[in-house]
């Protein structure tokens, strides 16, 4: 056969070569080219061992560079504002909150999402005042669309952050109201489409302390939230304080026999309910933190959107204790954490700054 010599033959051969090569290319690319490499072993948070020559995908055992947002810092950081006294003796607390909506934040290891933020983070700063203080919040909108701040609480209509939308590109508005009632409240943007403005991250916690104060305790804030990163109106990630599984990897260190007070605010969008279950213990629960008497002594509390309250408890025994959404779907998508209860009882200082 002189197949190779004729033009037709050459064309036929090249045709066959191209088709064979393309089939081989797509078929055999699957083969692991690193087969010779020594596999490494990883222990995952589920207890399973993984041996691999490749990369590990584990939101808990993440050992990369620290995330931009640190839930540990956020949790115990209370913003009391710039404090001064008015002539009549009232305490004035002045805050500045800047909104932005073009920031890309690593909301879970390796997952980058365009969050909308108050003062650079989701959630925004925890605003804290005492009942009767005058709160003045200077709001600057550096975003690309209108935003507001709507504080829950008692105030005048024009301070509600609903009808006076603050324009993009540096628009300003000053919210002013008397702190009250006592309790824990959310604040959030109230521009339409509301669900988007909230779920993207424009929210924070606002605490009003009673004039006489609360008993000394180790205090922390837990904002229950989530992110819908693929815009299908379902959350892809859930967490207490933004980063999925963070406290499972970095347990919250507390002392045994010490009063723990957690300000819990549910800012989760899309899902109708959220809840919190504490292991190895029960807690006093004060809905909205408005009453001095707990409504229940329990280990599960359920929140609808915007619901919040104060939990008070102390651990008798040292060790590791889980806390997580008893809506287990959320737990498995990041809303899981640990308390590490330590034996040592060190004296600690509490109170207002």
């Amino acid at each position: 056969m002189n197949l190779v010599k004729t033009m037709k033959g050459k064309m036929l051969i090249s045709l066959i070569a191209v088709s064979v090569a393309s089939v081989i290319y797509f078929t055999f690319l699957v083969v692991n080219i690193n087969a010779a490499e020594q596999p490494r072993t990883f222990l995952t948070h589920s207890g399973a061992l993984i041996q691999t020559t490749g990369d590990i995908l584990d939101p808990v055992g993440y050992a990369g560079k620290p995330l931009e947002f640190n839930p540990d810092e956020y949790m115990r950081e209370f913003s009391y504002g710039r404090v001064s006294k008015l002539p009549d003796g009232t305490t004035l607390r002045e805050f500045t909150i800047i909104a932005e909506d073009d920031k890309i934040m690593e909301i879970s290891p390796g997952v980058f999402f365009n969050v909308w933020i108050y003062n650079g983070t989701v959630p925004g700063p925890t605003i804290r005042a005492t009942e009767g203080d005058l709160v003045r919040v200077k709001f600057i909108n550096n975003g690309q669309m209108p935003h507001t701040i709507h504080f829950h609480g008692i105030h005048k209509s024009e301070m509600d952050g609903v009808f006076e939308s603050v324009g993009q590109g540096g628009g300003q508005f000053t919210y002013e109201f008397v702190a009250g009632p006592v309790g824990v409240h959310p604040y959030h943007c109230h521009v339409m489409p509301l669900e988007e403005h909230i779920s993207r991250g424009l929210y924070g916690v606002y605490i009003v302390d009673p004039k006489e104060g609360r008993p000394p305790a180790d205090e922390m804030v837990m904002t229950l939230n989530g992110f819908d990163t693929d815009f299908d109106t379902e959350n892809n990630f859930y967490a207490a304080n933004t980063i999925p599984f963070y406290y499972q990897h970095h347990p919250i260190q507390i002392n045994a026999n010490e009063l723990i007070r957690v300000y819990v605010v549910n800012m989760l969008e899309f899902d109708q309910i959220n809840n919190l279950h504490l292991h190895g213990n029960l807690f006093d629960y004060y809905p909205t933190g408005t009453s001095r008497l707990p409504s229940i002594y329990t280990d599960v509390v359920t929140f609808s959107q915007g619901e919040r309250g104060i939990m008070e408890f102390n651990y008798a025994y040292p060790g590791k204790y889980l806390f997580h959404a008893h809506k287990t779907e959320f737990a498995e998508k990041g809303w899981t954490g640990l308390f590490l209860v330590k034996d040592s009882v060190e004296s600690k200082e509490y109170g207002e700054k």
């Binding site: 490749g54 995908l57 892809n236």
Partner: protein, 392 residues
């Protein structure tokens, strides 16, 4: 004279190269200084999970980057619940690159699962499995098992079909035509079936990047043309001998059927390899029945020459054994891409066989196909296949 010839040849080469240079320049401009010109819209990442295997206490998903940009896989989930996992060779996938995601997971037999992967921008891609079943271990035993299955669906039925040879050989001319047309009808049905299957797999498993429909069309046409060309060459070469011509046609038919059986073997191997055991039993029974008719197609052209048992048996092997190779490929290195390509090659091969048979009918003295025997033969062939496809 010589120089003029040289100069004109140089001109020819230059005229051939100039358009390529202009094209290269234009592409270079778009990717280089002119990139701002086309900078509209945001390219969206896309990955396709091509294969999910259930092994001891783990699930292995094969994923391919089928989008326009490089991606980073950052998270795996089972039934939309985040799971720790490993990804090999690494989590960064360039265009068309594949990786294996290994998820330690205690799965339950015969239950449905959805495996999801999340990229660095938070988009999640998922694929579901109707019923989890343990993927067979890749052992020598399995190699032998696939060989037995291949023999069962490929070689044995074709051989059984060849046993009709004496029956066809003694038949009147019109009845013989009917049987030839019947095989053409059967094969036409199989060819369309293979294309449908190929389109189905491509639409379920391929991302837009692969142009599934066009891949099927292209491969079918190339397969058809390649076999048609070879067949014509061989037939013309041996056309002088009236004895050899039917043999050559039968040989081409058996090669075409062999390519088709490769695709069938692939489908069976893949069904077993992916743990779809019930499906593969269905496939085996279905193919065994279908393939008996293929023996008939090989025997038919040979029916007018003196019986050559050895040659017939050899052709039966050519037509049947590829089922074994198909089962191996499907069971061990299955990817939807291979499946679609082989199914399309098989379809093209089958259509070439149909053309050969029809030509054979016409050469046998029939100038048109509007003969009652021929028309009814094709119709009955297709109907029989349709009915068996419902029953099995």
């Amino acid at each position: 004279m010589e120089e003029i010839k040289k100069a004109s040849k140089a001109k020819l080469v230059v005229s051939g190269i100039i358009p390529i240079l202009i094209l290269a320049g234009m592409i270079g401009y778009i990717f280089g200084p002119g990139s701002a010109l086309l900078d509209f819209g945001t390219p969206l990442p896309e990955i396709t999970i091509e294969k999910i295997e259930f092994l001891d206490s783990k699930i292995v998903a094969t994923v391919r980057n089928t989008g326009p940009i490089d991606v980073e896989v950052v998270q795996a989930d089972v039934n939309d619940r985040i799971q720790p996992a490993a990804i090999e060779p690494d989590k960064n996938l360039t265009r068309f690159e594949t990786a294996k995601v290994i998820i330690p997971f205690q799965w339950n037999n015969a239950e449905p699962y959805e495996i999801g992967l999340t990229l660095s921008d938070g988009t999640r891609f998922a694929k579901s499995v109707d019923a989890a079943a343990h993927a067979p271990e890749q052992s020598l035993e399995l190699v032998a098992y696939f060989a037995v299955i291949g023999t069962y669906v490929g070689i044995i039925p074709v051989m059984i079909g060849l046993l009709w040879f004496p029956f066809i050989a003694r038949m009147s001319k019109n009845k013989y035509k009917f049987f030839l047309a019947l095989t053409a009808g059967l094969l036409l049905f199989l060819g369309i079936d293979a294309i449908e299957e190929g389109l189905g797999i491509s639409s379920e498993n391929f991302a837009g990047a692969f142009n599934g429909t066009l891949l099927v069309t292209t491969v079918v046409v190339i397969s058809f043309l390649g076999l048609y060309y070879t067949s014509e060459k061989l037939v013309n070469r041996y056309a002088t001998s009236t004895m050899a011509k039917p043999v050559v046609i039968a040989l081409m038919i058996s090669i075409g059927i062999g390519l088709h059986n490769l695709g069938e073997g692939l489908a069976i191997g893949a069904a077993i390899g992916l743990g779809a055991i019930a499906l593969s039993k269905f496939l085996i029974v279905g193919f065994t029945i279908h393939n008996t008719t293929e023996g008939l197609a090989i025997a038919a052209p040979m029916a007018r020459v003196k019986p050559m048992i050895g040659k017939l048996a050899a052709m039966g092997m050519i037509a049947g054994t590829p089922a074994i190779f198909g089962a191996w490929i499907g069971g061990f290195i299955y990817s939807p891409f291979t499946a679609v390509v082989f199914l399309s090659i098989g379809a093209g091969a089958i259509f070439q066989v149909v053309v050969s048979i029809i030509k054979w009918i016409r050469q046998d003295g029939e100038k048109t196909l509007s003969n009652a025997a021929v028309v009814s033969g094709i119709a009955v062939g297709m109907l029989v296949m349709y009915l068996t496809s419902i029953l099995v």
